[in-house]
Symmetry: C2
Subunit: 200 residues, 2 copies
């Protein structure tokens, strides 16, 4: 398999982390998240949104959207439950991740730490995104009260998806100190056998 | 089943449309999309994001996120394929919907047509969202070239998901005239037996 990848992207890290857990070999093609001028050329035929990660299967068929890739790789493994309701809950938390977590945590982190032009994030927009990011973190904190994992009693792809941008949120200026359950869950996930860090 | 619902919400309409196709009876609890003051009281125990749709199953268990609800209801019916790759493609397009389509098309439509305070959408923000909405519509247009449906050769929950906000995009000022494939697909979907309109 070929993964169009960016080392700093949390969305790409989700896929790399699951591939590591599943011990699946793959090659990467590195794509810049700052200079996007070659996106059409690289990804035009593979991904309607021209984003990474994009996975090309061994037979050449492409797959896009990090959480859809997690489902493809994770279904029929211990990272996706068998129970119908729990499967829907895994999807619920991955849609929450892509709608509430990523657009706040990832966007601030990108502009502040990776864009090379942090001034393009206006103070008003940063304040707005920081507020919505903390609202999302509070929802994670409440759900983790009394729970080790987001769905059921074992790690799933929902945890892997939510971990990606949550654990690097401080790079965007988010303070994780108040989120005790979130911090314990981050440590729990990083202690899983087979775990690899984002900069592995 | 009990659906926490708002008549104008495209995310709720997705669920109502699939329930109609599947001929599943349900009750609704109407929730305002403008006055959000009772959201915590209504949805606090049911949905971490306090949004509609929220579905409560017959046994009392809640499920949130429109596209996760579509998967729960649609799996093992003709609206979700059996093939592993096609299943991942259905998810790909639903994540695309929630990340690229909804945040542009739904947000402009809400402020312009439903908020009661359209002046809160600044011209700059509207221009930005209109641009990203048209980028998403162009991606749909390209993918539908030579295709009747988004995945495989029959309607799936990916089509239902993408239909919801695309067909009412003109309420937010989006012009669908240039998108010939999209318009043909909208008509195709609305002609399916069992279809119900958003204001049914």
């Amino acid at each position: 398999m070929l993964l169009y990848n960016s080392p700093a992207s949390g969305n790409c890290y989700k896929v790399r982390l699951l591939l590591a857990h599943l011990d699946i070999p793959y090659e990467t093609c590195e794509v810049s998240v700052v200079d996007r001028s070659n996106r059409c050329e690289l990804l035009g035929e593979l991904n309607p949104s021209l984003r990474v990660p994009t996975l090309v299967l061994d037979d050449g068929r492409p797959l896009a959207e990090s959480n859809a890739i997690l489902w493809y790789l994770g279904d029929d493994t211990r990272f996706v439950p068998n129970d119908v309701y729990e499967r829907a809950q895994v999807l619920q938390w991955m849609f929450f991740e892509q709608y509430e977590v990523e657009p706040a945590l990832a966007v601030v982190r990108f502009w502040v730490a990776y864009s090379g032009s942090p001034e393009k994030l206006t103070p008003e927009r940063r304040e707005e995104l920081t507020k919505s990011g903390n609202r999302a973190l509070s929802a994670l904190e409440r759900h983790l009260d009394g729970r080790d994992w987001f769905v059921g009693d074992a790690i799933t792809i929902a945890d892997i998806s939510l971990y990606a941008y949550t654990h690097v949120a401080p790079e965007g200026g988010f303070a994780l100190e108040p989120y005790l359950n979130v911090r314990a869950w981050l440590e729990r996930l990083a202690a899983e056998p087979g775990h690899v860090p984002i900069d592995a």
